[in-house]
């Protein structure tokens, strides 16, 4: 079961990385980075379930906060640049 989850998350992360590299504009790259961060969050949850060790779970909360703040800041930057 862990192998299936890891394979699915690996394929998803590679697709997001392709979009991060070829993305023509800045919002495409922000979307791809947000997707990579979400893959990391699910990976940490899977690791905690499989190993039975919950030491990594505060990192997951921190990733949620940092992802929201980064996206909001880049949106503000983009809005100020665009108009």
């Amino acid at each position: 079961m862990i192998v299936a989850v890891l394979i699915v998350l690996g394929i998803a992360a590679s697709l997001f990385a392709v979009r991060l590299i070829i993305g023509p504009t800045l919002p495409d790259r922000v979307v791809a980075l947000n997707g990579l961060l979400i893959v990391g969050m699910v990976l940490l949850a899977e690791l905690a379930v499989e190993t039975g060790r919950g030491s990594y779970l505060p990192v997951l909360v921190l990733l949620a906060v940092v992802g929201f703040l980064g996206t909001a800041m880049i949106a503000r930057f983009l809005e100020g640049r665009g108009r």
Binding site: L15, R19, V31, G54, G67, T71, A72
Partner: protein, 114 residues
């Protein structure tokens, strides 16, 4: 053992939803449609995966941490994607074609003209 199995199945379902979001982000033709694919599928996928992990764990510290991350993600992910969508709409030089209904353009026009 049963709780562990339920948690694993929920994690697999969440990972499959994230794979769906990744396929949408790679294949859709526009920045706005890519945001649509990521924000809808990934919010549900992360919520299902983290709730499954909270079912599988038994320590109360881990359960509260996972539930807090789930609530935080479900509250902030739509807000962040809405902010990014508005910034993309207002920014110049980014291709955003809204074909059928464009309510934001009507609102901006009615706000500017009088």
């Amino acid at each position: 053992m049963s709780r562990h199995l339920i948690g694993e199945v929920a994690l697999l379902v969440g990972a499959l939803l994230i794979l769906l979001a990744a396929v949408g982000v790679l294949r859709f033709p526009d920045a706005l449609t890519r945001m649509h694919a990521l924000s809808k599928a990934s919010t549900l996928g992360v919520s299902i995966a983290l709730l499954g992990a909270a079912v599988a764990r038994t320590d109360i510290n881990d359960i509260t941490s996972l539930l807090f991350a789930t609530v935080l993600q479900a509250a902030t992910n739509p807000v962040a994607s809405t902010l990014l969508m508005q910034a993309t709409y207002y920014a110049e030089g980014i291709d955003n074609r809204v074909d059928t209904v464009d309510e934001l353009a009507e609102a901006v026009a009615s706000e500017v003209s009088p």
